[in-house]
Structure formats: structure tokens, C-alpha cells
């Protein structure tokens, strides 16, 4: 039982981080959104597994709620934003070339491993051993926001950061209260909606969602 639980947590953590790396790796916005949905599923799996392990119905419920939000609603919204993009603009052109950004990503992950070591050694349990992965995803999300041009990929990066934070919360404090998580998720939802609106506005103003275009606004 405990071994399968540990394996499940390890697997989830691995998938969680893997999805993060893949998001840095891929360019097409559609696959970014799909990967984000995967990551959401992995995130939802944390409280789910925990809940089953501790026979805690609330946690399982949280897991299901998160799954419906992160795998269902948010990707759907983002997919709509992508669909509105012109065909030739559906590749998020990163500011760094892929190889370089992959190197950066590797550095970030290793850093995350290194800095989260004391955290893990505080109380080395199965759940906390997965914290480095969650922290790595936070850093990766920030990096994506820094290095991508399109508004949608910005949103993806933002959601990665949130995923990472939520995962850290679940893993360190075995499950945050349901209401807190729901509140946080609501904020995220609003943020994404705003970003969606922003994207639409950008497209109307510039016929493009390249955020570099915003520099045009400076002198106005």
C-alpha cells in the first residue's frame, strides 16, 4: 500500500516536472495548452492520491474540483484564445532559441533541486520528496513568462507558476483547506479571463498578440 502510494506520488511529481520541461521545449501554442492540461491533471492527482491514502474525502473532492478546473475550463479558455489567433501566428516565437532556453531550464531545475534540499530534509516524507519538482515548475513558469512573446504563452507561464505554488502547498501541508484552494483558483480564473480580454484587445489594436508591440504605447 505505502509503496504504491510512494510510487504514485513520485510518478505524479515526475509527470508534473516533465510537463513543465515540455512546455519550455515546444513552440506551438496548441501543444502548450495541451501540455498545460496534462500538468493540471498531475496537479489534481496530488491531493487525490493524498486523499485516498489518508482516507480524506475532502482532499479527494479538492482533487476532482481542481481537475475540472485545470483540465477542463482553463485549457478550454486558452484554446479559444489560440483559435482566435491567425494561422501563421500560432507558434510562440521565444526570445531565446530553443537550445539556449532548454539549457536555462536545466539550470533552473537543478537550482530548484539544490535550494529545496533543506526544505526536504526538514521532514523527509514521501510527499515532501516531491517538493523540488514543484519548485522547479514555479521557476520554469517564470522563465516561460520571461522568454515568450505571445500573450497566450504568457498566460501559460502564469498558470505554470500557479500550478507549482499549489503543488508545493499540497505537498508540504498535506492539503490546504478546500475554500482557500477554491479562492485561489477563482483568482486564477479571473486572471486568465483578463489575459484573454487583453489578447483580444491586442489583436484589435495591432492585429497581433506580440507583446513587444506594447512598447509602441510608451510615447502615447
Amino acid at each position: 500500500m505505502s509503496s504504491t502510494y510512494a510510487n504514485a506520488i513520485d510518478l505524479t511529481a515526475g509527470g508534473f516536472m516533465l510537463a513543465g520541461v515540455m512546455i519550455v521545449w515546444r513552440r506551438e501554442l496548441r501543444s502548450l495548452v495541451r501540455l498545460l492540461a496534462w500538468q493540471g491533471a498531475a496537479l489534481a492527482a496530488f491531493p487525490f492520491v493524498e486523499g485516498i491514502h489518508q482516507h480524506d474525502g475532502a482532499l479527494v473532492a479538492v482533487g476532482i474540483a481542481i481537475a475540472s478546473l485545470r483540465v477542463g475550463l482553463l485549457p478550454w479558455l486558452l484554446r479559444r484564445a489560440v483559435g482566435a489567433e491567425a494561422e501563421d501566428r500560432r507558434e510562440s516565437t521565444p526570445l531565446l532559441n530553443t537550445t539556449a532556453s532548454l539549457l536555462v531550464a536545466g539550470g533552473l531545475i537543478v537550482t530548484a533541486f539544490a535550494i529545496s534540499r533543506p526544505l526536504v530534509s526538514l521532514d523527509p516524507s514521501t510527499a515532501t520528496r516531491a517538493v523540488p519538482a514543484a519548485l522547479a515548475v514555479v521557476l520554469l513558469g517564470v522563465f516561460v513568462m520571461v522568454s515568450r512573446r505571445r500573450a497566450v504563452s504568457q498566460a501559460v507561464g502564469f498558470l505554470m507558476v500557479d500550478n507549482g505554488i499549489a503543488a508545493t502547498a499540497f505537498l508540504t501541508t498535506a492539503g490546504v483547506p478546500l475554500i482557500v484552494e477554491l479562492g485561489a483558483s477563482l483568482d486564477v480564473l479571473f486572471a486568465v479571463l483578463i489575459l484573454g480580454v487583453l489578447t483580444g484587445q491586442l489583436r484589435h489594436t495591432f492585429g497581433d498578440t506580440d507583446l513587444d508591440q506594447l512598447t509602441e504605447l510608451r510615447d502615447l
Binding site: 537550445t99 539556449a100 533541486f113 539544490a114
Partner: protein, 665 residues
């Protein structure tokens, strides 16, 4: 590629041209002397490896301290390696010098150079070591400047002189600090009074010596002389420098930083690993895009030295966390790689020399088709290349295997530095191996296979007997190391005994089957045998249905329907390396330009497209230029003090004297 260099001595395509008899005598004399020194070195070194050599003290030779010579197993190993390189070079030189008309001076200096290199590891005291070191440096400089009429040679010589003297200064300072603070001149004394040195002093000495020895071993960032000087020197000299002299740098690091000062704090090992890994990857990257054969080999030297230093660093790091058996594995890897590299690199340079002598070519873009015209040299270079790329059946395989084993078996879950350093090191070694193979395939495939791409290549002849004999000697050593590292097992064990400060001796067991202290074993000999059997089995299987086959036929190449393929339609070394250059654009920063010229009638008709890619050493560009500029500025500032008036100069002198007197009161 614009790294092409027209070679000063024109290739002698007519065998009748025989040099002046006295010159022949000089060549034979110099070659024989070198080979004899080599034999002496080997015998002396082997004696030293097994503690058979008493130490010698010659008081009258140098005032105050005298010359202290003693040979322990560590020195013995390096003396043996140098001797083993000198023997084939000496034999080879007989034919080469006659053919290439080496000037008498070089012929005279060459044995001296070998003697100096043999002396360095025998030195038993700081003074003796420094003397031998400087002698070696000056001799090699004289040899580099053999063809000093060519501008490239002069610039290379200048760069070499500056860097090697800077390195010497660093070593000098470091060793003087060491012997001053410990109050001892002999190495034994240093080791005995190590406690008199404060950790800070030891670290200072470490940094200074690593800088100095690193510059000699061609490590980043002081490697810039190596890819210039080694190609410009006559090939036997390149072989000696690239296979034996660089080892002196490694010897210095092992002797002083591992044995006498070590075991040091953790960051020593980390520093060595960083320098080594960076050198390995940078060297192999430059080698994989180089098109000048000797330049490629020189960069590969940087790569291999980097791997060795990486192994040394890993050993020191591992022993600092208490994994002394793994440290022993890493040390064995380093020492074995020193031996293997000496074998295959000397062979490679000798082959390159043969090619240069009988085709006048160094540029891979213009070679090709040598396999038909100089078959023996081709086979021998193939052996060298196999060793250089660290594949099974190669002389470099076992040492790289040991290195990786030491890296991946490091204690886990312990401290973060180890858990960060080891994976990165494994990645560096893996990437180095991969790119090294690409570089060596380029050197062999485009240099020796395919069809000749120039006059010189088409007119190639096989090397003269003595050259072939010399190369074959080196090749046989490569073969032995490739399949039977057991041959050097006992020697390495004795060396490890002298390094017991950082490593537990007697591990790993280099038998026919390589066994590690933990689980894990590998057998190059069995591997080779099994591969041979498998290939034979496949050939036998391929005979299935042979009786139904029509007669074998030799047909023209498939030219996509056209009648002929001209040699110009082949891939060149530049085009071969183009994808890799594209991948590593950010590191290499090549300046490439494509110029398209049109016909006069219409600019829609392209007459010719010229592609040029030039690789300047990025580090040299970015690191050296500013330094040089700074030095010049400083010199300009100093010049102000020079009015030219003698009285002023006398005043300076008087002031200086006064100051000294006051200070020394």
C-alpha cells in the same frame, strides 16, 4: 576554409631527390640519439616504477642547492611515457628529416628537448624542477620556430613564448611560496613540512601551480598557444609536444596539487573539474569544426587533457567526501588516459606528418583518396583515430570507461555539490565522446577515403620505410592498450601507492576483465574477440544464396543519370562540419559569408557561389584582446617615465638602490 596554410617546404614528389650526405648523417644522428634517449628513458622509467632507482645529488652543478634527482613510481610513469613517445619519433625522424630538410639547429635541439622532458619528472627538488622545466620550454620554443620564415610560425612562436613564460612565472611564484613557507627545497622536505604551510598559503600555491601547469597542458583559458604552435612545428616535434610535453603539465598537477599539497579542500577538486570539463568540451567542439588536420589534432589534445584533469578533479573531490576507492578509480582513469593519449596522439601526428610530407597538404578540404595511395599510413591513422574517439577497440576506451564509472558511482543523497557536479561531469564526458567521434570520422573519412580533391592528394606517395616503422611502433602500443590494459596494470598500482594520500591503492583491478570494487566489470579483450566473431558470423551468413548470384561487377558511381561525378562534387570537411557548426553557433561564433557572382548577361544566372567559414578561437578573441589592450595601455603609461636622459635613468637606479638598502636594513 581559410585556416589553410601553404606549407613552406614544397612536397618532393620525385623519390630521386636525396638530400646532401652530411644532412643525411645529421638526420640519422639526431634520430638515433632521440631514439636512444627514448630507450634509456623507458628502461629508467620502468626501473623507477618498481622503486629500483636511488636518488642522485650533484652539488657542484648548481650553486647553493645543487641538482637533486630521484625517481619514484609517479615520475617513473611519466618518464616511461616520454621515452615511449621518443622512440618512434626518433625512428620516424630519420626518414622525415631527410625528406623535409629540417635545419641542423632543429636536428640538434630535438634530442636536447627529449632529454629535458625526461629530466622534468626526475627532478627531486624545486630548483631542479624549475631548471628542467625552463630548459624544456626553451628547447620546444626553438623547435616551434624551425620554419621561422613563415609569418604564421612567427606569430605562433610569439604566442607560445608569451603564454609558456607566463605559466612559468606562475609556477615559479607558486613553488617559491611553497618552499619558502615550508622551508624546504626537496619534494621530500615539502611533504614532510607541509604542516608549516597555512591552508591559505596552500590554496595560493594551488591556484598558481594550476594556472602554470594548465597553460602547459593546454587547458582553458590558456590553451590558445596549442592549436597554433602544434600545427606550425615540424610534425615529429608536434608529436613530441602534443603527446609528451603536455603530460608535463599533468605531471605537475598530480605531483604538487595531488601528492605534495593534497588532499586539498573540496573546492580544489571542483575547480579542477570545471576547468577540465570546459577544456574537454571546448576542445572537442573546435576539433569537430576544424579543417586543418594538425589543428584538429591539437584541439583534440586540449580535449583529452581536459578529460584527464576532470578525472583528477573528480578524484580529489571524491576523496574529500571520503569515497577514496572511487578516487582511486578516477586516478587510474586519469593516468591510463595519459598513457593512451600519448600513444594515439603521437601516432596521429606522425601520420599527419607523413601526409604533409608526401602531399604538402594539411587542409582536409583538399585531401581525400589517400587510402589508395598511402595505404599503410591510412591504416595507422585509422588506429589513432579509433583511439582518439574513445570507442571500443580504441586506446582511449578503457580510461573513459573508468572515468564514467568513477563519476556515476559517487555516493548519492549526500551533499549537494557532489550531486550537482557529478551529473554535469557525466554529461560533459558523454557529449565530449559523441563530438569526438564526429571529429575523428571527419579527419579519417574526408582525409583518407573518398577521392582526391587536389593535385597534391592525387600525387601522394607512401611514406618512407623508417617513417612507417616509427608509426608502426606507436600503433602497436595503441593496439596493446586497446585490448590489454592489463599490461600497464602493475605499473599504475605502484603509482597509486605513491598517491595514497587521496586514494586507496589496489583498486580497480586491471585484469583481462576489468573489475571495479563495487559491482561492474568490462573486458576490452573479450569485447574485441566477440565483435570479431560476430562480424565473421555475419559474413558467413551473407553467403546465403551466393551460388545463385551473377558474377560480381565493378561499376561507375551512380551519378543520378549523369555521366560522371567530378571530385569537386564531393562533400568537403567544411561542409561535413556545417550542421555541427550550425548547432553550436552560439559557442563557436564563426564568421561565415556567402558571395554569389552573376553572369554579365543576366543577374538571374548564377555564375558561382563562394562559401567561406572562418573559426577564430572565440576565447582568444574575447579574453586575450582586452588583456593585451590593457597591457599596451599600461606600457604607454610607463613610457612617460622614459625621457631618454641618462641622468634620469641613473637617478632611478640610485633611488632604487637606496630604497632596497633602507628596506633591507
Amino acid at each position: 576554409m581559410s585556416t589553410t596554410v601553404d606549407v613552406a617546404p614544397a612536397p618532393h614528389t620525385t623519390p630521386e631527390v636525396i638530400a646532401h650526405p652530411s644532412r643525411v648523417g645529421a638526420a640519422v644522428l639526431s634520430g638515433g640519439l632521440t631514439a636512444a634517449l627514448g630507450v634509456a628513458g623507458i628502461s629508467l622509467g620502468i626501473a623507477g616504477l618498481f622503486h629500483k632507482v636511488a636518488s642522485v645529488h650533484i652539488g657542484w652543478l648548481v650553486p647553493l642547492v645543487g641538482v637533486q634527482l630521484n625517481l619514484d613510481p609517479l615520475g617513473g610513469l611519466f618518464v616511461t611515457v616520454t621515452g615511449a613517445v621518443a622512440v618512434p619519433v626518433g625512428v620516424y625522424l630519420v626518414g622525415y628529416a631527410r625528406h623535409e630538410h629540417l635545419p641542423r639547429l632543429s636536428l640538434a635541439v630535438l634530442p636536447l628537448f627529449v632529454a629535458a622532458m625526461l629530466l622534468v619528472p626526475m627532478a627531486g627538488s624545486v630548483t631542479t624542477f624549475l631548471l628542467a622545466w625552463e630548459l624544456m620550454a626553451l628547447a620546444s620554443l626553438a623547435l616551434v620556430l624551425t620554419h621561422h620564415r613563415r609569418a604564421e610560425v612567427r606569430t605562433a612562436g610569439g604566442l607560445y613564448a608569451v603564454l609558456t613564460q607566463l605559466g612559468f612565472a606562475a609556477i615559479l611564484t607558486g613553488l617559491l611560496v611553497a618552499s619558502a613557507s615550508s622551508g624546504a627545497d626537496t619534494f621530500a622536505g615539502l611533504a614532510a613540512h607541509l604542516d608549516r604551510m597555512s591552508p591559505g598559503t596552500r590554496s595560493v600555491v594551488f591556484v598558481l601551480t594550476v594556472i602554470g601547469f594548465g597553460s602547459k597542458a593546454g587547458l582553458l583559458p590558456l590553451h590558445a598557444w596549442l592549436p597554433r604552435a602544434h600545427p606550425e612545428a615540424p610534425s615529429p616535434v608536434s608529436a613530441l609536444m602534443s603527446a609528451a610535453m603536455v603530460n608535463a603539465g599533468i605531471y605537475g598537477i598530480v605531483r604538487f596539487d595531488a601528492q605534495l599539497l593534497g588532499p586539498g579542500p573540496r573546492w580544489w577538486g571542483l575547480a579542477l573539474m570545471v576547468v577540465g570539463g570546459a577544456s574537454a568540451m571546448y576542445g572537442v567542439l573546435q576539433a569537430s569544426v576544424a579543417t586543418d588536420l594538425k589543428r584538429l589534432l591539437a584541439y583534440s589534445t586540449t580535449e583529452n587533457m581536459g578529460l584527464i584533469v576532470l578525472a583528477l578533479g573528480a578524484a580529489s573531490l571524491l576523496s574529500s567526501v571520503g569515497a577514496r576507492d572511487l578516487a582511486a578509480i578516477a586516478l587510474t582513469a586519469a593516468l591510463l588516459h595519459v598513457v593512451g593519449h600519448a600513444a594515439f596522439k603521437s601516432l596521429a601526428f606522425l601520420c599527419a606528418g607523413a601526409v604533409l610530407a608526401f602531399t604538402g597538404l594539411r587542409d582536409l578540404d583538399q585531401m581525400g583518396g589517400l587510402a589508395r595511395r598511402m595505404p599503410t599510413t591510412t591504416v595507422l591513422f585509422g588506429i589513432a583515430a579509433l583511439g582518439a574517439c574513445g570507442l571500443p577497440l580504441g586506446a582511449g576506451f578503457v580510461s573513459e570507461w573508468l572515468l564514467v564509472q568513477a563519476l556515476i558511482h559517487a555516493p548519492r543523497g549526500g551533499d549537494s555539490t557532489l550531486a550537482l557536479a557529478m551529473p554535469l561531469a557525466v554529461g560533459a564526458v558523454a557529449l565530449t565522446t559523441g563530438l569526438g567521434v564526429a571529429a575523428m570520422v571527419k579527419a579519417f573519412g574526408l582525409g583518407f577515403l573518398a577521392r582526391p580533391r587536389s593535385e597534391g592528394a592525387a600525387k601522394a606517395r607512401e611514406a618512407t620505410p623508417s617513417m612507417v616503422i616509427g608509426m608502426t611502433l606507436a600503433a602497436s602500443v595503441c593496439a596493446v592498450l586497446a585490448v590489454a590494459p592489463v599490461a600497464v596494470g602493475p605499473a599504475l598500482r605502484h603509482v597509486l601507492d605513491t598517491l595514497s594520500g587521496i586514494a586507496v591503492p589496489n583498486t580497480p583491478r586491471l585484469g583481462v576483465m576489468l573489475r571495479l570494487p563495487g559491482a561492474g566489470s568490462m573486458s576490452p579483450a573479450l569485447l574485441a574477440a566477440a565483435l570479431a566473431v560476430a562480424v565473421l558470423a555475419v559474413i558467413a551468413l551473407a553467403q546465403w544464396g551466393a551460388r545463385h548470384r551473377p558474377e560480381p561487377a565493378t561499376v561507375p558511381l551512380w551519378a543520378c543519370g549523369a555521366d560522371t561525378l567530378t571530385p569537386r562534387m564531393q562533400y568537403t570537411a567544411t561542409s561535413f562540419a556545417e550542421p555541427l557548426q550550425r548547432v553550436f553557433d552560439d559557442v563557436l561564433r564563426p564568421d561565415t559569408d556567402v558571395e554569389i557572382s552573376h553572369y554579365a548577361e543576366s543577374r538571374y544566372l548564377v555564375e558561382k557561389v563562394a562559401y567561406r567559414a572562418q573559426f577564430t578561437d572565440a576565447i582568444e578573441e574575447r579574453l586575450y584582446r582586452p588583456v593585451v589592450r590593457g597591457v599596451l595601455a599600461w606600457a604607454g603609461w610607463v613610457r612617460r617615465a622614459h625621457s631618454g636622459s641618462v641622468h634620469l635613468y641613473l637617478a632611478y637606479g640610485a633611488l632604487g638602490l637606496l630604497f632596497v638598502l633602507v628596506a633591507a636594513r
